[in-house]
Subunit: 172 residues, 2 copies
């Protein structure tokens, strides 16, 4: 793992616990064993790091999702696949969705970070709209918004109350 990748990984963990202001160049540098000035070599500003983090997170998320049509072809409901990915984030990582947390504090983010968070939700809504369309939903756009809203909201509340059963109840 390169130092740059390690920096992004360390930042992701911190952001998913407390948001954009929950990491500093010094902390990241200490964690991976370099100096804070060296972090600026990989990321000129904190906003650059935040934007790249959200961009990679989005790409990885969408890549893992695969194509809704492929899931359908395998006899699986693509919405269940999507729900399972959210469940993993909460149950395995025991952390919030990176872009869920960043989205909540969207108004205070640097522009380039906010733009990447927007991209996450645009891509997610597009995927879910397609999935619901395949499922024969009458209003796939609306169904997509409802799906991601319910999951993000349930994730936040389960995280707050420190009890996964709230999330499980919300999605079943």
């Amino acid at each position: 793992m390169t130092k740059k990748a390690a920096l992004l990984k360390a930042a992701e963990n911190k952001v998913r616990l407390g948001g954009y202001s929950n990491f500093s160049f010094r902390e990241l540098a200490n964690e991976i064993g370099i100096k804070s000035a060296s972090v600026h070599y990989h990321f000129p500003t904190k906003a650059d790091l935040g934007a790249e983090l959200a961009h990679q997170y989005t790409d990885a998320f969408i890549a893992v999702l695969g194509e809704p049509e492929a899931h359908k072809a395998n006899g699986k409901n693509p919405i269940d696949i999507y729900t399972q990915l959210f469940t993993n984030a909460l149950v395995i990582d025991k952390k919030m969705c990176l872009c869920g947390l960043l989205g909540a504090q969207s108004d205070s983010l640097p522009n380039k970070v906010r733009d990447e968070v927007k991209r996450f939700f645009i891509k997610n809504l597009a995927w879910l709209t397609q999935a619901h369309k395949i499922n024969g939903e009458l209003n796939p756009e609306r169904a997509a918004i409802k799906t991601v809203s319910l999951l993000e909201g349930a994730m936040m509340i389960s995280n707050t109350l420190d009890d996964i059963s709230y999330f499980e109840q919300a999605i079943f």
Copy 2:
């Protein structure tokens, strides 16, 4: 309006835009025309301010909600009343739910602040469970979690994408 109330109001605005770390004693002091050291007279620590803010926010929210039974008696669906309160927060204030944002960053909050955010959701779930029970829901607890999750999630996404129509689509 007392200075203390003005401090809480100023803090609320900032927290609802960017979370717990989005306000400082100096900023609040400047805004209401006192010195930052004087803020410590009203709130010994930042955590004390944050906790009192979340506590008051919760009390005010629950007070405005009234009793589910009273709404039902007036021929109104109490869930619609609840949904309308969330809509107002987003449309009128153009800001996130205070406890929604704090809940997302729950893991990085001081204990006494986190406890108050928990209290917000416990009280909301109790109100919604009672409302759904009155409505004859078979599983009022589950319906309550689904209601608040959908609203908090839709609020966050609409705020991120800076477009209220996402929220409107999610709740109708």
